[in-house]
């Protein structure tokens, strides 16, 4: 199985002091992940950023898995980051950024286990946001993604904005009218053109003033 899952965290919306409290971060990262941070990452990543980076990776894995397992419950403690490679300094993002694949020198690369299943992540982190995408193979060349700043954090506005954003991108691959997104009865998004479901696996996310998507063509 190959698919995608993504998540975005708006860093201006997080509570830094609370994130550093053990009773908070221990709900997101386990002892081994705290050790990973202390031993390999503490010199280059503020702890509160690491905690939310871990959250975004884990939620992305959950979204990937939820498509094939609709009853799955998000359980951060059971999705374990085993390795995280730090990139060279990353330049600031523009307000809107889209791409296909990632420059591995510019993103955090992760290796994750959920039970006996392996996942790989690519994350970008700057002063504004953390954006993560996961796949079950260490290859993101076929993964399309986008990040965009919007004007409102109202849930309805976020929801509409992320759909327009991803549909604009999909429209370049599926020209014509009638592209739309519907949620499956189990809550994951699907893409239709008129009455036909398209062979695209998509994931989207929003937090505060940021929306994001990832998708793969399901060939």
């Amino acid at each position: 199985m190959t698919g995608t899952g993504c998540d975005i965290v708006a860093l201006k919306a997080i509570n830094v002091d609370r994130t550093k409290q053990a009773n908070f971060y221990s709900k997101i990262i386990i002892t081994a992940e705290k050790s990973l941070y202390d031993e390999a990452l503490s010199a280059v990543v503020p702890f509160e950023h690491f905690v939310w980076l871990a959250w975004s990776v884990k939620e992305s894995v959950y979204k990937f898995l939820q498509r094939g397992n609709p009853d799955l419950v998000f359980s951060p403690s059971k999705i374990n980051i085993k390795k995280l490679t730090v990139p060279a300094p990353i330049p600031s993002f523009k307000v809107e950024t889209e791409g296909q694949g990632f420059d591995n020198n510019r993103v955090y690369s992760g290796f994750i286990m959920y039970g006996d299943q392996q996942f790989y992540s690519r994350s970008t982190l700057n002063n504004d946001l953390i954006f993560s995408v996961v796949n079950d193979v260490d290859d993101f060349t076929a993964t399309y993604w986008g990040i965009k700043k919007i004007d409102s954090s109202e849930p309805d506005v976020q929801s509409a904005a992320v759909r327009i954003f991803i549909l604009n991108s999909l429209n370049s691959l599926f020209p014509g009218e009638g592209l739309r997104i519907e949620k499956s009865p189990y809550g994951y998004p699907m893409v239709f053109q008129n009455d036909t479901e398209l062979p695209v696996i998509i994931s989207f996310a929003h937090h505060d003033l940021w929306v994001a998507y990832s998708f793969m063509l399901n060939s």
């Binding site: 609370r18 409290q21 009773n23 997101i28 959250w55 419950v73 998000f74 359980s75 109202e154 937090h207």
Partner: protein
């Protein structure tokens, strides 16, 4: 505390994290925190931490995983209060 008393207090815990105040007033056991109350998943840990502080309880990993709708939140809090 009864389940009803926990539910009334839980509304105050949830209130800062939802913009859907109308739905909050009428929540019931089936109300989903993310889908119905439009709470961002990133705030679910905040709700758990606030509930721990409000009721002076500790919510472990397995219990936290269950807290996806109002009914399961009340169940977990009720169970923890009666363990104290």
């Amino acid at each position: 505390m009864t389940r009803e008393e926990i539910l009334n207090e839980l509304k105050k815990v949830i209130a800062p994290y939802t913009t859907n105040k109308e739905m909050l007033d009428g929540i019931n056991d089936q109300t989903d925190l993310i889908r119905d109350l439009k709470i961002n998943s990133a705030n679910l840990v905040d709700i758990i931490i606030d509930a721990e502080a409000k009721y002076n309880i500790e919510i472990d990993y397995d219990s936290a995983d269950k807290m996806i709708n109002v009914g399961s939140c009340v169940d977990v809090i009720y169970e923890k209060l009666n363990q104290e």
